[in-house]
């Protein structure tokens, strides 16, 4: 047995706790059956309990599986073990939540019996996969969030823990919301028709099959993300390949939903819409990753040194996810700008907006890096977010108040007169902030080297 899983089971599944969980659930189900009878009423209570035990409580325990080790000063001992990243990840993910899965299994058994009796075994099997997937996604997302925070050497207060749990809950809510549209049980209970088909890459695909496959694939990506973060904790280097494959996957996946935009953007053809969807996804990923990943100047200098010595393969191992996402955004943005040339109606305005978006993205990621080089860099990300709030919210509000809305193009992608002005302003700002960030990094290194000497 996986030693990490076994250790967690020793701590979690003590006979006293097992009896307590089984007894409490039995009493609750008995009370529910007395109040509402057997059938959907009891099944709904079991479903609610499942969400609470596996999703809400389980995501907290998943986040605690690493944070608790750091708090109790046992994490270094675990990092020094010879367990692989995968073994450590699944041992923690399913071990730390084994008590939750025990309670969840009791609830799930009751739900499955009811669904199989009322709607048949096929629907019961689909529901079973859904319940498992939503639990795994919520817990894995919380674990991933906590591992990312560990990599950033953040504090592990109760608030931090709540944030990691919240990440899991948000992931579960997204799955719940999306699945509800196609779920026959939800449709029956809400008396609304379930979505039967989803348009994707120009085809109509069975909604339940598509959503189940999507949930399973995203659960796999989340687990893979956990393993990769765990690798970093175990001092193993991650190459860029997996994130690049993820970028290709997510770009293709999201681009397939162009049909949802075509009604609102009739002047854009399918390829433009697909590129736009991929561009937007990559830009969001760039912002997300530049916020989450540690922007360590020591690491950046190491990378620059490796590139300088032409150790390209070694240097590529240090390339961060936000850098690759930024590169993908530039690539797809460039492709979209070129593609828009073929349609005179959308060419100028569309190109200007796309290029302005890329310029402002360059400015914004440079702000994140720049803020890490300034004094008080521990709160650098907070400072960067404050600047972005000022640029995207406060400044436009002030301009509106001053009746100077025509100058908005200076702060975010906006059409200007002449058309190229917005893109030019964005790129000038981007290059200036990028230059400042690089200069600050070089200056900090020079002063550090002098102090060491």
């Amino acid at each position: 047995m996986n030693p990490e899983f076994e250790r967690n089971v020793w701590l979690e599944l003590t006979p006293r706790r097992v009896l307590m969980m089984a007894g409490l659930l039995a009493l609750t189900f008995f009370a529910a059956s007395l109040a509402g009878g057997l059938g959907w009423g009891l099944s709904s209570v079991a479903s609610l309990l499942y969400y609470f035990i596996v999703v809400v409580w389980g995501s907290r325990n998943a986040a605690m599986s690493v944070v608790g080790e750091i708090r109790d000063r046992t994490w270094d001992m675990q990092r020094l073990s010879s367990l692989g990243a995968g073994t450590m990840t699944w041992g923690k993910l399913f071990g730390a939540t084994s008590y939750n899965w025990f309670g969840g299994a009791l609830c799930l058994a009751l739900i499955m019996v009811n669904v199989a009796t009322q709607l048949g075994p096929v629907t019961a099997a689909i529901e079973f996969v859904y319940y498992l997937a939503i639990g795994v996604i919520a817990q894995a997302a919380s674990l991933l969030a906590s591992l990312i925070a560990v990599g950033r050497r953040q504090a592990h207060s109760r608030l931090d823990l709540f944030v990691y749990q919240a990440v899991g809950l948000v992931a579960a809510l997204v799955v719940y919301y999306v699945w509800s549209a196609a779920d026959p049980v939800a449709a029956m209970l809400s008396h609304k028709p379930a979505t039967d088909f989803i348009p994707w890459w120009g085809r109509s695909i069975d909604a339940r099959a598509f959503l189940l496959a999507s949930v399973a694939i995203f659960a796999s990506w989340t687990l893979l993300g956990c393993i990769r973060e765990m690798r970093l904790e175990l001092k193993m280097r991650n190459g860029p390949l997996v994130w690049l494959v993820f970028l290709v996957f997510i770009g293709l996946y999201v681009a397939g939903f162009d049909a949802f935009l075509s009604a609102d953007m009739k002047s854009w053809d399918a390829i433009s819409l697909r590129l736009l969807l991929a561009l937007t996804t990559y830009a969001i990923l760039t912002y997300l990753m530049v916020l989450l990943e540690p922007k360590d100047r020591v690491h950046y200098r190491w990378m620059a040194g490796q590139f300088g010595r032409r150790h390209f393969l070694t240097a590529l191992k240090g390339v961060q996810a936000w850098m690759m996402s930024y590169g993908a955004t530039l690539l797809v943005g460039g492709a979209l700008a070129l593609w828009l040339l073929h349609d005179a109606a959308t060419a100028m305005a569309g190109q200007a907006l796309v290029l302005a978006t890329l310029g402002f993205l360059t400015r914004d990621v440079s702000i994140f890096v720049l803020m890490q080089t300034l004094p008080g860099r521990r709160r650098g990300d907070l400072g960067a977010l404050a600047i972005l709030f000022a640029l995207y919210v406060l400044a436009p509000a002030i301009l509106n108040g001053l009746h100077a809305a025509s100058a908005m193009y200076l702060f975010f992608p906006q059409l200007a007169a002449p058309t190229w002005l917005g893109a030019a302003a964005a790129w000038i700002e981007g290059v200036i902030v990028l230059g400042l960030a690089v200069t600050r990094l070089a200056l900090v290194e020079r002063s550090g080297a002098k102090a060491a000497a």
Partner: protein, 323 residues
């Protein structure tokens, strides 16, 4: 086939200098706010106990964490048993035991389960785990506490359990950060015996502390680290079981004391006109002969004994100041 040599070419990462377990070359480590190690180089021989000493904040813990492959160096190289920490961190983790200065235990698990987990997570097969657990527990004197919960142990026993967890997989290298902090005199003596036994069993130990007295009993080498650098630039041999240190004292000043001792085969570490700190053979006959020759040469010999403060003497001889 007679007379033909078989030559095996090993990759560079597996080439190990005989007798050398830890090799650090020009190690630089940076925290985001400061450079903690500024070019540390040292070599630790196999089957020795090396004291890593220096004031608080000198970089001892950072150096130990780099040795344990828990931190990547910014530049330079660390090799443990011939393996580079940046290239084979997990191979090194498997060969290493590490006791941090602030460690935790699973308070709700019994000693047996704590040790079983440590053994299994270090790759010991399920069938061999029980024997490994009992051996480690016996080594640290916890054999009769296997069914006690670790949260119920005293501080000294918790320390023993932490060490047992670090050695249950028989590592080649054991790194200990301030292992005697907070221990009573008896527990310190037990710790000292245990570390010597581990060395004799084949382990190489590096022990960090800023309290020299606690290292005195078991360390044979010393590395002084100050402000992120090795003071003096290299490790110092402070104890040799075959050639211990002796302190000689004479009642009447003689300016030729050093010269006389050198002439009799002693390695003189420090000497003035009244005292001399020397390294000399443990052989009783040879020592008796040296004493006779000193007396015969007219030295007013008032004291001749094994130095009990070898580490402290060596430290201040290197650092060049006393408190």
């Amino acid at each position: 086939m007679a007379g033909r040599d078989i030559v095996i070419f090993l990759p560079d990462r597996l080439r190990v200098e005989p007798g050398l377990m830890i090799e650090v070359e020009d190690l630089v480590y940076e925290y985001p706010t400061a450079r903690a190690l500024k070019g540390v180089s040292l070599r630790v021989p196999d089957r020795t106990i090396t004291a890593l000493v220096g004031p608080n904040g000198a970089g001892k813990t950072t150096l130990l964490r780099c040795l344990a492959a828990l931190e990547y160096p910014y530049s330079g190289r660390v090799r443990i048993d011939g393996r580079d920490t940046t290239q084979s961190p997990r191979e090194i983790h498997a060969r290493l035991g590490y006791l941090p200065d602030f460690y935790g235990l699973y308070d709700d698990l019994t000693v047996r389960r704590c040790l079983s987990y440590a053994a299994r997570s270090h790759g010991i097969a399920p069938g061999a785990t029980s024997a490994a657990v009992e051996k480690a527990a016996a080594r640290v004197g916890l054999a009769d506490r296997l069914e006690s919960k670790s949260g119920e142990l005293s501080r000294g026993l918790r320390q023993r359990l932490a060490i047992a967890q670090a050695i249950v997989h028989e590592p080649k290298v054991l790194l200990l950060d301030e292992p005697a902090a907070g221990l009573d005199p008896q527990a310190r003596r037990d710790l000292s015996r245990l570390l010597l036994a581990l060395r004799d069993g084949g382990m190489t130990l590096v022990v960090s502390s800023h309290i020299l007295a606690e290292l005195e009993d078991y360390c044979s080498e010393m590395v002084i680290i100050e402000n992120g650098l090795i003071a003096g630039g290299k490790a110092i041999k402070v104890r040799d079981d075959e050639r211990p240190r002796y302190m000689i004292e004479i009642a009447t000043k003689r300016s030729d004391l050093r010269e006389f001792l050198v002439g009799r085969g002693a390695d003189v570490i420090e000497a003035d006109q009244i005292h001399a700190l020397i390294v000399f053979t443990r052989n009783p006959g040879a020592r008796a002969k040296l004493i006779r020759e000193l007396v015969a040469a007219g030295f007013d010999l008032s004291s001749f004994g094994e130095s009990s403060k070898a580490l402290e003497d060596a430290y201040f001889a290197q650092v060049g100041r006393r408190p």
